[in-house]
């Protein structure tokens, strides 16, 4: 019944450092993974095992060296993200796929409210509610103090920045969400809020790949977990 949204076949990633005489660094090899619609898959593993690399390969921030990344798009049908054109990737990023990095990439002179509203830019699938109201709603839920809404995130704490980052990712209501450490540096209460919001997305049909170190988060959110070790998947664990 569940339809596949993402399917990785033999994905590999190798970095070639030209400056060091073309030294090669293998980051991923032989990755096979699939995610169904509405599924939340947790990606776990030690530091340096390749989790962020895998996510970035899907988002095309990294160019895969081998293998395929099949994504079932609403607009384009089945498309291999590894070989798709820049233009197609840009379209998917605007409309269907959202990536939330571990840290907020700060742009000067953009307030917290505007950062969150930016998540709505270009999206066609939203309710009649205005962007401002929706963004304010989310900021309220992640409990960012109201006086900070018009402030520039460059002055925020790490936790505050990440909350804004996550709010922006969630508000975009994507078909596929790639989210890296959404609850790190959050207190218990805010952790719950963020997990709530992500689960709400799942209800709406979003497929989610999440990287986390936090067992509590993983247990609450994930249908399934995948462990990476030295760039490859080891025994896929089936969670409760």
């Amino acid at each position: 019944m569940a339809s596949k949204v993402l399917e990785l076949n033999g994905l590999g990633k190798e970095f070639t450092l030209r400056i060091l005489n073309d030294k090669r660094i293998a980051a991923l090899h032989g990755i096979n993974l699939s995610i169904n619609k509405g599924e939340v898959v947790g990606l776990i593993g030690k530091s340096g095992s390749g989790k962020s690399t895998l996510m970035k390969c899907i988002y095309r921030t990294y160019l895969p060296s081998s293998g395929e990344i099949w994504y079932h798009s609403d607009a384009l049908g089945a498309i291999d993200l590894a070989t798709a054109s820049d233009h197609e990737i840009l379209h998917l990023r605007k409309q269907e796929i959202t990536y939330c990095a571990q840290f907020l990439s700060v742009i000067p002179r953009v307030s917290a409210l505007e950062v969150v509203m930016a998540g709505l830019y270009g999206r066609t699938n939203q309710s009649g509610v205005g962007a401002l109201e929706l963004a304010s709603d989310y900021l309220a839920r992640i409990e960012l103090p109201k006086e900070l809404w018009d402030a520039y995130p460059s002055t925020f704490s790490g936790g505050e920045q990440q909350r804004v980052n996550v709010a922006r990712a969630i508000i975009s209501n994507p078909k596929l969400l790639l989210i890296d450490e959404p609850t790190a540096s959050l207190d218990h209460k805010t952790k719950n809020v963020v997990i709530e919001m992500i689960l709400e997305l799942r209800e709406k049909g979003t497929s989610i790949l999440v990287i986390s170190h936090d067992t509590f988060t993983l247990e609450r959110m994930c249908d399934r977990m995948v462990e990476l070790q030295q760039g490859t998947i080891i025994t896929p664990l089936i969670s409760v």
Binding site: I19, L63, R109
Partner: protein, 283 residues
Amino acid sequence: MNGKVDQQWLLKVEGLTKIYGSYNENTVRSTGPEFNSNICPETNSIVACADVSFELFPGEVLGIVGESGSGKSTVVKQLYFDLEATTGAAYLRKEDNTLISLLEESNARKRYLRNHFMGMVYQNPREGLNFRFSSGGNIAEKLIMAGMFNVQNIRGRASALLDRTEVPVTRMDDKPASFSGGMQQRVQIAKAIANNPPLLFLDEVTTGLDVSVQARVLDMIRELQRDLNIAMIVVSHDLSVIRMLTDRTLVMKNGRIVERGLTDQILQDPQHAYSQLLVSSLL
């Protein structure tokens, strides 16, 4: 917007080449990043850029990054008709889907295209603005060339544009010579978008400005791009500008494109040796 991909490019450039001086059949072959040189060893001609090909889609922002001699400004200057190409072609797709072969048009047509379809912002405001006219007059020039001959309408539109680019409207009748560098750039931007062009060229527009001013101008450009959905080509040697503004990037060296891709990919996973060098040199 119904979610379907717009497969039709707005601008397509093919084999754009600019050579200064007389050249022979070996000139292009004997220059480029592999030779670390733009100068032909046989004829001493300078290959400013060669074999430049790319597509630009509506509403997309393309960055061209490179150091001096990379040819990045040359590309854009040829598209805006400031320079004449040696060989190559460039096609613009109009709203009615007809194609215009830009480099083959007559001077009069080129002027028409520049006024109605393109905007250009130069690094030096003196290139883009006429310092003998007021800032409103500079914008008026663009509006008049597009056929607006009503003074009240001209002033109305000019003040709206200046307001949009955060230039105090009270300075509309002042000459740009009395403005700060950042404000001069903003007047240039107002002038460039006066006729709502689908295509905007930005050539090192914040180079030389103070950092805080730079941030303001860049931020304004981002907003404008979003609100007006203009396709832009942003030329810069500064990777942080590229990061802030662009969706895709071309990396150029010695007149050739050495790498092309999504901007975040170029910045985080550069493939070509030169791109890796550039990115690792980011302070």
